[in-house]
Symmetry: C2
């Protein structure tokens, strides 16, 4: 049997990954922001193209405007009962995850791009959590790209994938809840029970 | 300052994540396969829909046919000098990552789907690595979906995102190489130096 100490630690971290949307007022140092971004850059990407670019946002007015766009999109998607009311202006740091269209356009190219961005995003989220920080992955921005580009100075050649609020969690959170492996896993062929 | 022991362990793990394509002959127990899939299911997904489905493949003939398709796609993409010549038949386990089209069709829907699949894929890869296993993320399959569906018994309602060969690495591997944070990170607006 292999030594599973590292695996157990990782499993515990992953089981406790939650979407954290409310934070204490305390700031997050640049040095720590840089470490979670470095974790993201360690991820795999198709042909190792490393298409990711990060924008670290601390400016209160930018955060306010991003928050207004986010809430408008939420109302459009969920109505007035939109579940996610992050107090965007109060979040210490936002990290916007962008990229070049590294594989061209069209559905297959966008799939390859997602495969080359979200492993890094997950590294970033796990590293933040390991440091004691809270974070939440928000991806609903696509519908508002024209409004977002000037706010972030983002040229037409760049895609915006996600914005990740980061800060010290307002409280402690329990484990996440997920469907059991047996319900989502098959043996040899789709539909054959695990 | 926060306690960064966990973060340091995670940083070391991420710095050593490599694409492992050659494995020892030793088998990988179902119990360990189940643990790495469980790690995947702990990941975040949009609206927590958990769209992932996994197919665990050990059948030699299926592996051979998948390998033939993969190599054909490689030759098409790279010519005869295709860099990735995984000996597919010899790989102990393949995990195919599929999903429903949980957010409909079109570019925005596919982006949301990628955002809800690849964090889990990265969890799976990191968990495998933490257990001492090697793995590699392969995503070039989209162009051959019609040929792949019958092999995996995959209905038209399901997308195939990736196939991940897993086994005990043939040798030890060093750290990965990535561009420095300062080259891919901006402050407040795209283009402003970090």
């Amino acid at each position: 049997m292999p030594d599973t100490t590292k695996l157990e630690l990782l499993e515990d971290l992953m089981a406790r990954q939650r979407a954290i949307r409310r934070f204490m007022a305390d700031d997050v140092d640049d040095s720590l922001v840089e470490r979670v971004i470095r974790a993201a850059t360690r991820a795999p990407s198709a042909r190792n193209v490393q298409p990711w670019r990060f924008i670290v946002i601390r400016d209160r007015e930018t955060k306010r405007q991003l928050g207004a766009i986010f809430d408008e999109l939420g109302t459009r998607m969920y109505g007035q009962g939109a579940p996610d009311r992050t107090p965007w202006e109060e979040v210490p740091v936002l990290i916007a995850v962008c990229s070049e269209y590294a594989f061209g356009e069209g559905e297959a190219a966008m799939a390859a791009l997602g495969a080359s961005i979200y492993p890094g995003v997950q590294n970033l989220l796990l590293a933040a959590q390991a440091a004691g920080l809270g974070a939440v992955l928000t991806t609903r921005w696509k519908a508002q790209e024209p409004q977002l580009r000037p706010l972030l100075g983002l040229p037409e050649t760049m895609a915006l994938h996600a914005i990740i609020p980061i800060g010290w969690p307002d409280r402690s959170y329990g484990k996440n809840r997920r469907r059991p492996v047996g319900e989502v896993t098959y043996r040899e062929r789709f539909g054959e029970p695990w």
